[in-house]
Amino acid sequence: MIKVPLRLVVKNLLRHPVRSILTVLSLAVAVFLLCLLRSLVVSLDAGVREARSDRLIVQSAVSLFVYIPQSYDTKIRQVEGVEDVCSWTWFGGYYQEQSNFFAQFAVDSDRLLSMYPEMVLVEGSEADFLADRRGCLIGDQLASAYGFKLGDSIPIIGSLFPRTDGGTWDFQVKGIYTSTSSNVDRKTLFFHYKYLQESRDTGAASGPSNVAVFVVRLMDGARPEEVMARIDALFENGPQRVQTTTEAAFQAQFVSMVGNIPLFVSSLGGGVFLAILLAVINTMLMAAREQVQDSGIMKALGFTNLSVFLVLLLQSLLLALAGGGLGILAALGVADSIAEMIGSQFPGFAVTGETVLLAATLSIVIGLVAGLTPGLRLGRLNVAQSMRAEV
């Protein structure tokens, strides 16, 4: 049985309380940062992972900004294997100032909620929404970000669809939804496509006609590849060629556009890790230097080299665990407010269990590595050498 005097481990840590606290705090800060950076990278493709396999997206084959004719709706609906179709049109307006960015979509409102079972109304009702021509549904994060409440009127300035009178589009909040999947953004405003169409037709507003994309729900048992090919073939010769993809592939194109940024953020994380590892090694070297005489006394009392080594290693591990734990707790604590802050650019930002596990593992690695070299050195010194050592 290896004897490790645990009290000595604790006493040693408390011998320099300032140093221990500073080390723990800087570890906490670094682990906190690592958690957030990784969450940022992970959130980028959350939409891809949580995409549903029973939905397809029909978009222009040329560009996301080329709209496709509304009349495609009936043709797509007749394709074998298609259960339902719902159009989405990017509205591209802003609330009061351009910096207040959140997404607005004009949708076939009567089909939206049945198409997206992951959208759950927490306030208001679908019937109220459908009954009001200018009604809208907003995400709960959007509601809390700007303090919008049920029954409020939200004035939106249309930059893609300006109103002819120069005024704002006033949408009435008829429902607030939340989402059970990061696939549906909780900071979006949905309103009736019919209202947009009507305003355009009567000349009350201008902007591109037609719709941006169609979301298609497959019938049970329909094979996505076959349905995709059938839809694309319908419009092969124009007027607008379309490209039908799975929801996952649609989300993936946005991830792909982000380019090398995930790699860059990961290297930042590497830098953070390196900096903190060096700092903890430094602390442990200082501790080892001071504990040379103690280790000599321990050995004289009959403790083995291994025990002496373990005393130092345990100190290092305890520091790392305390720091890492604090950092993880802090990251979990602020995760929600950060998700709200950057939700529109990084929907699905969350500190996942995997991230926590990774952070905990990294903390332990730091503790082990930092304790190893100085610990081994102490373990190897013979009694006479260490007793004589000058501090």
Binding site: L22, M257, L274
Partner: protein
Amino acid sequence: MALVPLSYNLRSLLVRRSATLLTVLGIGATVAVVSGVLALQQGFERLFAESGREDLLVVLRKGATDEGGSVITRAQADTLVKSSTEIAVDPNGRPEASLESYLAVRRPKLDGGETNVPIRGVQQATFRIRGERLKIVEGRRFEMGADEVMVGRKLIGRIQDCGLGQVIVFNTTPFRVVGVFDYDGPFSSEIWGDVDRFAEALERKVYNRAILKLAPGVTVEQFSRHLEDDLQLPSDVLTERDFLMGQTRALSNMLLFLGGVLGLIMGIAAIFTATNTMLAALAARTHEIGILLSIGFRPITIFCSFLFEAILLCLLGGLVGCLITLPLHGIETGTINYQTFTEVAFAFQVTPRVLLVAISFSTLLGLLGGAWPAWRAARLAPTVALRRH
């Protein structure tokens, strides 16, 4: 007042080699992280802001936040160019104005995935207005009226079908790549062709913006009023430089924010590290401080000496950080510009400003990290400090 010789600090750092090295490297990594983000931001900002011209105006439909959201009909465009005496004319009497179309098209990347590449339809006048700064690197310009395009240099090697002689299909019309061009600015991530041919192929018979030069003596305000009052064309008129700066604000601010947050959080960790190192130095040199005090050095001198050593330590770290960041200079990368949803390629720029921030940042770390240990050193009583423990 006698100062403690600086060589004393240098030697002290040398004596505690491992602690010095570890601290310097740790602070170096911190500084490198912050200056890496800044170098990315500088590259982005330089690409946009510094390539924009002051003498060139961009006209967008009023309220549009970018080219994609701005629509100018053919009829409006005709009125704009033909009924504005405010627009400068070249020696042959042609107005110095050009109408352009803009669309982000879906293109496959060479390394897999898809991205949005901007295609710009231009008129002959664009070449006159752009002049010498538009360089043909390979091949030739596209012919007006032909189904030909030239591609920006930065698309080569990143986007499929962009090589000389290859064919790019827009909707159902094939276009042949006949040239590669370069222009210092975001244009070198674009594909250019005849505005009318693009309109035909994409069935978008509208323009997205006009670029023009004003006749001598005409101000932007006068021209803007003329458009709104005389021509019933409410527009946003701004210099190309302001326009490009507006296009980058979101991403640029995001990077600055990221750099700031990283700097703040990691700075705190680095300060703690520096404090720890200096406290250990203090503990090891208590005896020496006792000697210094007893031979007449004043506490304030001791304070300065310790603080100087901390700053020196962190400055070395800052230097290491700069050395890590420097090789990034010029490395090209691409990312999405959220404002236009298109991909732009740009290079890390380790500008003097980045280095200056890195050095000031590390000095600040030294000041904050060294203050408390230095203060403790200065407050030691000589008799206590001299006593061997």
